[in-house]
């Protein structure tokens, strides 16, 4: 079973995000870049399937050179090969353009399953997985917390939580799955894993290597424009509900929820 995992590099969730002076981007000077946490679930799931069915796990990343580091981390966890799509013309691309480049790279590979995160924790758009599947003409199952591949390796059954219930979907392969928290607990890269990753193949490809025209990418190729970025409003101070008795407090709380918070 050959599996592909798409990998995005995002700011560490602990990073204090600051909006840049152009109001359309963030300050990246002090940002620590990490593998998108949802992609870690993808790597882990791919490795577990490989352990069961054999085959190869290929990680496909897109972005500047620094993304190599995250691909290496995936290789250190146990993935077999890495591909980095890197091209100055990609700078500023929107999700659709990213999906086009990924699909072009993936088309050249043999695969039974593709994992992407259900979203990147930076832009939170959740577009790339679905767009990629569409471009490749394969089924897509999104926000998945359980993956079971049939013994014969020909079909997959997945679970998607919906409003507290579970939706179970079955699909033929190849297919694309977008991962949700709860799918698994990603492993840490051990020292022997890290040392082995050093020798694993990591290929770099430009847009022209993939037969793509740079004109459709970057800022100029955007279908979706960022108008403005604003930090979330500062949270107002909390309020302590006053009252002599529990009944009084409850009545006061209900009144506040109704009149002020307007939630009931």
């Amino acid at each position: 079973m050959n599996i592909i995992v798409c990998l995005k590099q995002v700011p560490d969730t602990e990073t204090q995000i600051k909006v840049a002076s152009d109001s359309k981007s963030i300050v990246t000077d002090d940002v620590k870049w990490v593998m998108n946490p949802y992609d870690e679930f993808g790597v882990e799931e791919a490795l577990r399937l490989k352990e069961k069915f054999g085959g190869e796990v290929t990680v496909v990343g897109l972005g500047p050179k620094r993304v190599t580091e995250s691909i290496r981390t995936a290789l250190a966890m146990g993935a077999d090969k890495g591909i980095l799509i890197s091209d100055d013309a990609l700078e500023g691309s929107d999700s659709l353009a990213v999906a086009k480049a990924l699909a072009a790279a993936i088309k050249e590979l043999e695969y039974d399953l593709i994992f992407t995160g259900q979203r990147g924790v930076d832009d939170d758009l959740g577009i790339v997985g679905a767009a990629c599947a569409e471009l490749l003409g394969i089924p897509q199952m999104s926000i998945i917390v359980k993956v079971e591949v049939a013994e014969d390796g020909k079909t997959v059954k997945v679970t998607r939580p919906v409003e507290g219930e579970n939706l179970v979907i079955e699909s033929s392969l190849p297919a694309l799955i977008t991962t949700q928290k709860g799918l698994n607990e990603p492993r840490y890269a051990s020292l022997p894993g890290i040392m082995k990753a050093k020798k694993k193949p990591l290929e770099e490809k430009t847009l022209s290597d993939l037969g793509l025209d740079a004109a459709g990418f970057g800022e100029g190729g955007r279908k979706m424009k960022i108008v403005e970025l604003t930090p979330p409003p500062a949270r107002a101070a909390g309020k302590i509900v006053e009252g002599e008795t529990p009944q009084e407090k409850a009545a006061e709380l209900a009144k506040l929820l109704h009149d002020e918070a307007k939630v009931i």
Partner: protein
């Protein structure tokens, strides 16, 4: 001279910090407070490969060099793992497993090292006695030779992991007439008749590590349990103590980086007299002092690690300097970290008082600062 770490070392450090932050640190405060050993975290250290980093892969290790091993220790401290668990790891790996690995027979290595690497077995090392600490060669624990083995009698004191260990490396006199040359090292297993451990001592710091007496009362061990040859024990102990004074110090150093991070965060957030206390020179100087300590200590510790990787196995002078510097000079910065947090610094939740208590062991364990100075003056 090359002071840089490789990309692989940096990635590994990052993974250790992530692992420890998620799997261990959320449990550290509670285990320190209750004075309880965290078996679960210790097992996880084994699963992740930390307990056996520098041993060969065929014995369950990861073939790491000493610099990488030291880096892992620093990373544990930097993530905020309490000094107790770090000490338990250090005593287990460097004081027990390493001695069996470095001086044991193939049979001894194969029997113990893989299980010590995985954490399936917990190890300890008994050198100090109630009446013999700094003057360790005056030990009185006796190993009497019989046809089929040895009979141990005597007591060891302050033994890290003593109450929970499955395997002990124990130093005893095979020749009472001699001082250093009369000492031999033995492996003693937990359930050996005549061997018992005292109860956990209630300590100021490193509280999640358990420390006790080891008691030998006509404890018979087979002759295969002798490590190396008779009379070679003191040299092994000195090699062990050198680890004690270098790699085992790395988590303390990393711990100060954790403390510094807490201090910077707090000083930026805490306002008094209308502005963040970070802006007061008195506070800035405290932060600078902590950083100075960290940089100097790292240089000392990694220099020894590097030297070992170059094949120079014993670095007694450098190790004594590192041990003394880290032990004595960390107390000021650790004290400042508590003060900087004001009243909150005195409370458990802020972790800085724990670092202060844990750090207080450093000028005592593995040879006191006075003894370190004696070694330094003897060697210059």
């Amino acid at each position: 001279m090359d002071f840089s770490f490789t990309d692989e070392q940096m990635m590994f450090k990052d993974q250790v910090i992530r692992f420890a932050t998620k799997e261990i640190v959320p449990r550290s405060r509670e285990h320190d407070l209750m004075g309880e050993f965290d078996f679960q975290s210790f097992r996880k250290l084994g699963e992740f490969g930390i307990l056996g980093l520098h041993f060969p892969e065929d014995l369950g290790g990861s073939d790491a060099d000493v610099v990488t091993t030291t880096l892992a220790g620093e990373a544990l401290g930097e993530a905020g793992v309490d000094g107790g668990l770090n000490l338990a790891y250090g005593a287990h790996t460097f004081l027990c497993a390493d001695t069996i690995f470095a001086h044991g027979t193939d049979a001894q290595r194969e029997k113990y090292v893989p299980k010590l690497c995985s954490g399936e077995l917990i190890g300890c090392m008994g050198l100090t006695e109630p009446g013999a600490g700094s003057d360790v060669a005056s030990m009185t624990t006796h190993a009497q030779k019989r046809e089929d083995g040895y009979v141990l009698n005597g007591n060891k004191m302050f033994i890290t992991n003593g109450p929970i260990a499955d395997v002990a490396v124990v130093y005893a006199k095979t020749d009472k007439e001699q001082k250093h040359a009369g000492i031999s090292a033995f492996i003693v297993e937990k359930d050996t008749p005549g061997f018992s451990a005292g109860k956990n001592l209630n300590k100021m710091g490193v509280r999640s590590s358990h420390t006790s007496e080891l008691i030998f009362d006509d404890c018979k061990i087979p002759k295969e349990n002798l490590i190396g040859r008779e009379g070679a024990g003191f040299l092994m102990a000195m090699q062990t103590v050198e680890w004690d004074r270098s790699a085992l110090m790395a988590p303390f150093v990393g711990g100060m980086t954790y403390v510094l991070k807490r201090c910077i965060g707090y000083a930026k957030e805490r306002h008094q007299f209308g502005r963040p206390i970070y802006q007061y020179q008195a506070i800035k100087h405290k932060l600078a002092d902590i950083k100075i300590f960290i940089e100097a200590s790292r240089a000392l510790v990694y220099r020894i690690a590097w030297s070992k990787d170059q094949g120079r196995l014993l670095n007694h002078l450098e190790a004594a300097v590192a041990k003394l510097f880290i032990g004595d000079w960390s107390l000021g910065p650790a004290n400042d970290a508590v003060t900087l947090h004001g009243g909150y610094g005195y409370c458990h939740e802020y972790d800085v008082e724990r670092a202060f208590r844990d750090g207080r062991l450093a000028p005592i364990g593995g040879g006191t600062s006075e003894i370190a100075k004696q070694i330094i003056t003897k060697l210059i």
